[in-house]
Amino acid sequence: MTLLTLHTILTTYLVLGAFLLAIGLYGMFAQRTLIGMLISAELMLAGASVNFMAFNRFLAADPTVGQIFTLFIMGIAAAEAAIALSIVLAVYRNYRSIDTEDVTDLHG
């Protein structure tokens, strides 16, 4: 096993997946902004996807399963990003509107 043949063994991918997951986890703790946490979540999802793909490539009986799973993860991520964007927008708007007279809206 040399550095140049790393891509042929499963362990590399698993370690990479673990690394991405762990770094995402760290980000979840360390980041304080909504967007930062979203980024960390994306990293964790990426780690999981790498793992799926690796197992799919090296171990699975039906090599479509992992790919489909990864595709689903992408779909989820896209949905998540869309929601996150709108939340950011809403929070931003709300935050601004506190400055103006719209505060009463909050009390109904």
């Binding site: 902004t33 909504l34 946490m37 950011v88 929070v91 931003y92 935050y95 601004r96 400055d99």
Partner: protein, 372 residues
């Protein structure tokens, strides 16, 4: 976990348009307070090309101020020449021979067409179309050639004199002018097909940039801006000067008050100017072009005098205060774009940036005339 934990929540930002910005046609600066691409507040900042014309007027003789008028609004310099000579002639009581009046009208109207052509091109350029500008310049070059043959300059004419014009026209000027009008008549449908009917342009101009008549009145806007709001005010008709009463022409008005209306008013004015020139060429009498009794040294009687002309951008007024000497005591230039621009702040509120620029383009600004 606020998104905005540390940002200083300012909902708007200030965008400085200019003083060097392609859209401001020179050195106007507009301070825009923007909310995204929406304009919350627009404040034009003037004076970047303030050239002290009014101060210069007090330092020179009446005749020496003439070249300055050509540099106020360099696109329709002859209108400004005309306004100034009218005021001084009124003050000094100089009568102008009829031939000179006709020559003045022909050249002024030619100049108005060339000014509108530049406006047309520059306006489309503001909207992102480049080719119409050069087509308009093609036609304009012919006008400039005609005027250059008469006046000797291409742009900043100093052609009118108190009591007449600098020199007489040549016969081939008339034939050239009529040939040019024929050519422009043939070109106008091309402009309409290329630009006016274009769906993108219609979408960008229709119902954009409302300037209602009441706003025009409050800000003193005149010219195509006012006529685009449905008020048919035109100094050539309201306070007839020169030989305009003898000429038959319409004052195009459009009631909508949007950019499209102002655009159409100007294009129609080109047609009307062509009519005026044709009539004037037909009626052109023989005779001198300079009043014989015109004094060499002008000393108007004490008092103040006003004269207004319809320049390409609106009513240009000259207020002279004379103390009976060879230099003006006070010389006030009332420039149309100054008033037209002053409504920009109110009219552009809540507009998108590109629409506001369309509005600004449709006001047809010439900055040196505003800053004077």
């Amino acid at each position: 976990m606020s998104v905005l934990a540390s940002s200083d929540c300012k909902e708007t930002f200030v965008l400085n348009l200019g003083p060097q910005h392609p859209a401001t046609h020179g050195v106007l600066r507009v301070k825009l307070t923007m909310d995204g691409e929406y304009i919350r507040h627009a404040e034009p900042v003037l004076g970047y090309i303030h050239r002290m014309h009014e101060k210069m007027g007090e330092n020179r003789t009446w005749a020496q101020f003439m070249p300055n008028t050509g540099r106020l609004d360099y696109l329709s310099a002859l209108s400004y020449n005309h306004g100034y000579v009218l005021a001084v002639e009124r003050a000094a009581g100089i009568a102008v021979p009829e031939r000179a009046e006709y020559i003045r009208v022909i050249t002024v109207e030619l100049n108005r067409i060339s000014s509108h052509l530049v406006w047309f091109g520059a306006f489309i350029l503001d909207l992102g179309g480049f080719t119409p500008l050069l087509y308009a310049f093609d036609d304009r070059e012919i006008i400039l050639d005609l005027l250059q043959a008469v006046t000797g300059s291409r742009l900043t004419y100093c052609y009118f004199r108190f009591g007449g014009v600098y020199n007489d026209i040549e016969p081939d000027f008339i034939t050239g002018t009529l040939a040019f009008i024929k050519r422009l008549r043939e070109r106008m449908p091309m402009y309409h097909n290329l630009v006016t009917k274009n769906i993108i342009l219609i979408k960008r101009l229709k119902d954009i940039g409302f300037v209602p008549a009441e706003m025009c009145r409050k800000y003193g806007a005149t010219g195509p801006v006012l006529r685009g709001a449905g008020v048919g005010y035109d100094v050539r008709r309201a306070e007839p000067y020169s030989v305009y009463p003898e000429l038959d022409f319409d004052i195009p008005t459009y009631p909508e008050g949007d950019c499209m209306a102002r655009y159409m008013v100007r294009l129609d004015e080109i047609e009307q100017s062509m009519r005026i020139i044709e009539q004037a060429c037909a009626k052109l009498p023989d005779g001198p072009v300079m009043a014989e009794k015109a004094p060499k040294i002008i000393k108007p009687a004490k008092g103040d005098y006003y004269a207004a002309v319809e320049a390409a951008r609106g009513s240009f007024g000259v207020r002279l205060v004379s103390d009976g000497t060879t230099t003006p005591y006070r010389l006030k230039l009332r420039s149309p774009s100054y008033s037209n621009l002053s409504l920009f702040g109110e009219a552009s509120r809540g507009m998108l940036l590109p629409d506001a620029l369309a509005l600004m383009g449709s006001l047809d600004l010439v900055i040196p005339e505003i800053d004077r």
